[in-house]
Amino acid sequence: MAVDADADSVTVEDVSMVYDGSNGPVEALRGVSFDVDPGEFVTIVGPSGCGKTTLFRIIAGLQTPTEGAVRLDGDPIDGPGPELGIVFQEYHLFPWRTVADNVGFGLEQTALSTDQRRERVQELLELVGLAGFADSYPKDLSGGMKQRVALARSLAPDPDLLLMDEPFGAVDAQTQTLLQAELLDIWEATGKTVLFVTHDIEEAVKLGDRVVVMDREPGRVQEIIDIELERPRSRSDRAFGSYYEEILDRIG
């Protein structure tokens, strides 16, 4: 597996997030800490309300924690940027732009020429299997296709970290399986560091090198489990099943 020479490590240091709720302060996250090595694929799983989306937004630079910090290769993250590629569950494509223009959005801020941008967009579209849809609009695409565009778009500026928040939650099971396999292929081809948030335990075990299992009230890390299985992983595998049960135990 290729490791991107620029892939970054991620250090989550004692991150806490407290909101002012209507009934007093709400501790969305308490003392969350873990490390991610360059090129690693780490999944974050937990029950709803465990703060995993809050954690996602903090790592993405969209929110500032009340305490603690997140470091990308040692440098603290203080805002969103092209080095932090993000993919949301609801795609959030720009509806007024074609697929090609959506994917190329992040490249317009760079010094690349129009031709170079077009080439890179073409490369990315081929990577996600949408080469023939460059001129289509998001309204013409299915959920799975939109998610592929969202992925290509966030990969365009060559981020050091790929952050995904339940990206396959809005598509049907078949498409989900397809997209999971494609994501792993892309990860193995590009060697990026990936942080993948999900509520789906099976997905967490299937994809991650390690799984960060969270708990709720307050949101915190319960345990980090190494998944020592070769890919591709099969859920009918006994070892897979025992990882699944172990996590289910902790979350349920």
Binding site: A60, P82, I86, W96, F105, G106, V128, G129, E182
Partner: protein, 267 residues
């Protein structure tokens, strides 16, 4: 690795050369309706003296003679001379102000009370100001029309900008667009374009209707022709000029709708 996704693609409707603006059945039924309307009018006109309801034929002849004498064209041109600048200025200022208040929390908090006070003032109530500041004539009429355009476009733009999803802005920031000008140009404006275009279109119509009233104190144009004809009981002329007003509105509105369909092809 690339999977075959072509069967997932939704097909868009083929809207044809006019962008779906004219469908055959709709056109036919519309013509039937119009014919019925003219028919009723004609019947009514035979039951009334000409100064209450002239016949469609008489009106058609009047339209012809007005065009022949050039009076129609002059009146139309006069109206356009204040309608166009008034609409353009009012629309532009309305959009700019709406976007500014929709985007900037500080501006919105500072200016909302002022907006609340000024908004309910009907354009015609400002005729006094129009005359005092701009004199009787084109400038004064344009001012009234601009007010009419302003508020509609202000609220449309404001609503459009307010409705832009924060998530879209987050995505743009994470793709390298950090500065406010960039976000406005690349996300906010395109995202609120549908609402803004609706506002422009509504404003155009409202401004046409305002043209007549705006000319009431002396600006030349279609409105003045209508008032003069009404004063001398030339009802056929009144109707003739009203028709011109309607036709002009129809032309401009249809042209704008076609533009809208082309620009908003992504919806």
């Amino acid at each position: 690795m690339a999977t075959d996704v072509s069967n997932e693609l939704d097909r868009t409707d083929d809207l044809g050369p006019l962008g779906g603006a004219v469908e055959p059945r709709r056109l036919l039924l519309g013509l039937v309706g119009l014919a019925g309307f003219v028919g009723l009018w004609w019947i009514g006109s035979t039951l009334q003296p000409a100064y209450i309801l002239p016949s469609p034929l008489a009106v058609a002849e009047t339209v012809q003679s007005e065009i022949a004498s050039g009076a129609m064209q002059t009146a139309l041109l006069d109206s356009v001379v204040h309608w166009l600048p008034g609409t353009v200025v009012g629309t532009t200022l309305g959009i700019a102000t709406g976007v500014a208040l929709g985007w900037s929390r500080i501006l919105e908090e500072t200016l909302t009370p002022v907006v609340r006070i000024l908004r309910p003032v009907p354009p015609l109530a400002l005729i006094g100001f129009a005359i005092a500041w701009f004199g009787i004539g084109h400038a004064g009429a344009a001012f009234i029309i601009a007010i009419g355009a302003f508020w509609i476009n202000f609220y449309a733009a404001y609503g459009g900008v307010e409705g832009v999803s924060d998530d879209l802005l987050d995505v743009a920031r994470s793709l390298g667009v950090k500065r406010q000008t960039g976000l406005i140009r690349k996300v906010v404006l395109p995202a609120s374009l549908p609402e803004i275009m609706t506002g422009v279109r509504t404003g155009i119509g409202r401004c046409w209707m305002l043209v007549v009233a705006a000319e009431i104190f002396g600006a030349p144009g279609i409105g003045r022709q209508i008032f003069r004809s009404a004063n001398s009981l030339q009802v056929d002329r009144v109707i003739a000029y009203i028709l011109v007003l309607s036709v002009m509105f129809l032309l401009v509105d249809t042209a704008f709708r076609l533009l809208q369909r082309r620009v908003l092809v992504w919806r």
